[in-house]
Amino acid sequence: MTQTQTQTQTQNQNGDGNDSNNELNLVESVRQTLHDEMGRDETVVVYGEDVGVDGGVFRTTKGLIEEYPERIFDTPLAESGIVGTAVGMGVYGKRPVVEIQFSGFIPQAFHQIKQHVSRLRSRSRGSYNCPITIRAPYGGGVHALEHHSESFEAAYSHIPGLKVVVPSNPSDAKGLLTSAIRDPDPVVFLEPKKLYRAFREDVPEGEHTVPLEEARVVSEGDDVSLVSWGAMVRESLKAVDEVEASVEVVDLRTVSPLDAETVVESVKKTGRCVVVQEAPRTLGVSSEVVSRINDEALLYLEAPVERVTAPDVPYPFPEREGAYMPDKEQIAEAVRQTADF
């Protein structure tokens, strides 16, 4: 049994079960969304490795097979097969929501995503859509095995035709996943597994959608803009508590297409910005955020835009994870330096 599985099961015993006021963690929120969308639209099919009887290694799809036995499938272990068959399902008229067990294994389906999923629409001049949602547990922070913790969102964001979504909380997870499933375009939906069972919050019951191209101002402030997404939003919020400056926290939510407007508006107000990403530094999404600020708000800046990122090294084995992932201390220090510049 892998370390990740052990941890998952321990958390599972302590964590699951819906409260009456719909307080959910991120795993439960994704599960409820899949349940609701399968109930709403019978063209939705869910498949991937171990998602059926086992309910997924994180139990994200637990119980769904009992409710929708005709539309949930345990597939052979073959990532390209999973994503490639979804192209066929999609053109036929299904709405496949496929799970790749860990985002670190999407590269085995990367050619399908890049060569076909992202461009079937443009190369058939709109004759066919690829209404596929590719879900995967993503990112680090849970002491997982090698290849289980990568943040590769920049690579997907570099592919025109895809939408790349990273929720940072249970409520957004529902709103964004609902939109992703209903979207006629393909969406890579990356679920920060560090947040899977980190906390609960009230998730709206019934219809709840969040538009795929809108960043969210999580908390308003006047001194520094702090831009991040996924697990780093929570880390950023922790950092805000440790600094004296008035910080405006922006959660990108969808990293591609990027809602640069919300970032630019925030920077025009504060004149200072720190961008935080879990991924390695070079050519990450943060590089694009900084470029957009240069394009549209350079003359509003009172300090250089600071970045807090992982180093340009492969994601380390679990014992050295702490040396890799940005934490609240690093973020707080960057905010202080930017505010004091």
């Binding site: 097969g81 036929y92 060569q115 190369r123 709109g126 004759s127 939408k163």
Partner: protein
């Protein structure tokens, strides 16, 4: 018993019409003279289009493309076995199959000339060409799987070459198809070369058909230059696939011309080999049979050729107009269902520069 045989298999080969136009009547598929003439005409149309397109490419009027000269029976025979509502998933050398499915000749030429308009789908359930080798096989498995889920009596057919059988996607597709009872027929056009690598060096498998056996998929080998054998094998395979039993057909054929117009096959194969395969030309073979049956004579063949010449001329003419009308802003329009704000700004900025 310390050792016992736990699996064995055999691959059958089917031939109906030999190189001299002699027919094995016991295997002859149920096709009328009209069907045969229609298939013959489509093969001739494909050949004429390829020959003209090579000339256009040499003059720089169209881009690099992959001719299918020599493979007409493998494609027309198999595509003709499809019903209108079935799905066709092509690779990148399927002009004859597209013509069989009713695609306009002019659209195929637009595609070769580098205009996406040529990949716009006509009134059949066909996918546009797929360039990355074997990548389309999994799409067909997905369609076939959806057909099974919907209790749809239709089927999907996917084309790929000998080289594709060395790719992972081919094996994933066969495996998925059989696990999920997909209505998929896998048609391998074994044309003997993956660009320059001969089939014997591509794989040590005795046949390519037997690669399907490892996924539990039934497979047959046919003489791919024998229109009637290809049709019969595909028709039989489709019938089983419609019942949720995916199938593979290996059509043994030969690419008489180049891999693409950028390729010079004289570097890696000798003229003698090419000459031997020319004797097995798939179009000549069916023409011999039809002449022997008095369905065709010199006058009808001349008439067919004149008709085709004029169709090719029209297609070439339409290309000039299509190029003149091509709107550069098209590159922005079909990427997403709705153009995202950021991309819209890029489009407007670009248009501003042009104006």
């Amino acid at each position: 018993m310390p050792r016992e045989k736990v699996a064995s298999f055999e691959i059958e080969r089917l031939e109906v019409l030999d190189e001299d136009g002699n027919l094995d009547g016991s295997l002859e598929p149920d096709l009328s003279d009209d069907d045969l003439v229609s298939m013959y005409k489509t093969m001739k149309r494909a050949r004429a289009l390829d020959e003209r397109a090579i000339k256009l490419q040499r003059r720089g009027e169209i881009g690099t493309f992959a001719p299918a000269i020599g493979q007409e029976a493998a494609q027309v025979g198999s595509a003709y076995a499809l019903e209108d509502e079935d799905w066709m998933v092509p690779s990148f050398r399927e002009k004859p199959a597209f013509l069989t499915r009713g695609a306009p000749m002019e659209a195929l030429l637009w595609y070769d000339a580098g205009l996406e308009e040529g990949a716009e789908i006509h009134d059949r359930n066909d996918l546009p060409p797929a360039i990355p080798v074997a990548s389309q096989t999994v799409h067909a498995a997905g369609i076939g799987w959806a057909q099974e889920l919907e209790d749809d009596n239709s089927a999907s057919l996917v084309y790929f070459g000998d080289g594709a059988t060395s790719e992972g996607d081919f094996h994933e597709a066969l495996n998925f198809a059989n696990v999920f009872d997909a209505h998929t027929v896998f048609v391998c056009q074994n044309n003997q070369y993956a660009i320059s690598l001969p089939r014997e060096e591509q794989t040590k498998s005795e046949t390519l058909a037997q690669k399907a056996v490892s996924a539990g998929v039934e497979a047959v080998q046919v003489d791919g230059n024998d229109l009637l054998a290809v049709y019969k094998a595909t028709r039989d395979a489709l019938e089983k696939a419609r019942q949720g039993k995916p199938q593979m057909v290996e059509a043994v054929t030969y690419r008489l011309s180049m891999h693409t117009t950028s390729d010079d096959p004289s570097v890696y194969r000798d003229e003698e080999e090419v000459e031997r395969w020319k004797q097995r030309d798939p179009i000549d073979r069916i023409e011999k049979l039809l002449r022997r049956r008095d369905v065709l004579d010199d006058a009808t063949v001349d008439g067919i050729e004149e008709e085709i010449d004029s169709e090719v001329d029209d297609a070439v003419e339409s290309l000039k107009q299509k190029k003149a009308d091509a709107d550069p802003a098209d590159i922005y329009r079909y990427v997403y269902d709705e153009i995202p704000d950021g991309l819209l700004r890029q489009m407007e900025a670009r248009q501003g520069v042009e104006e």
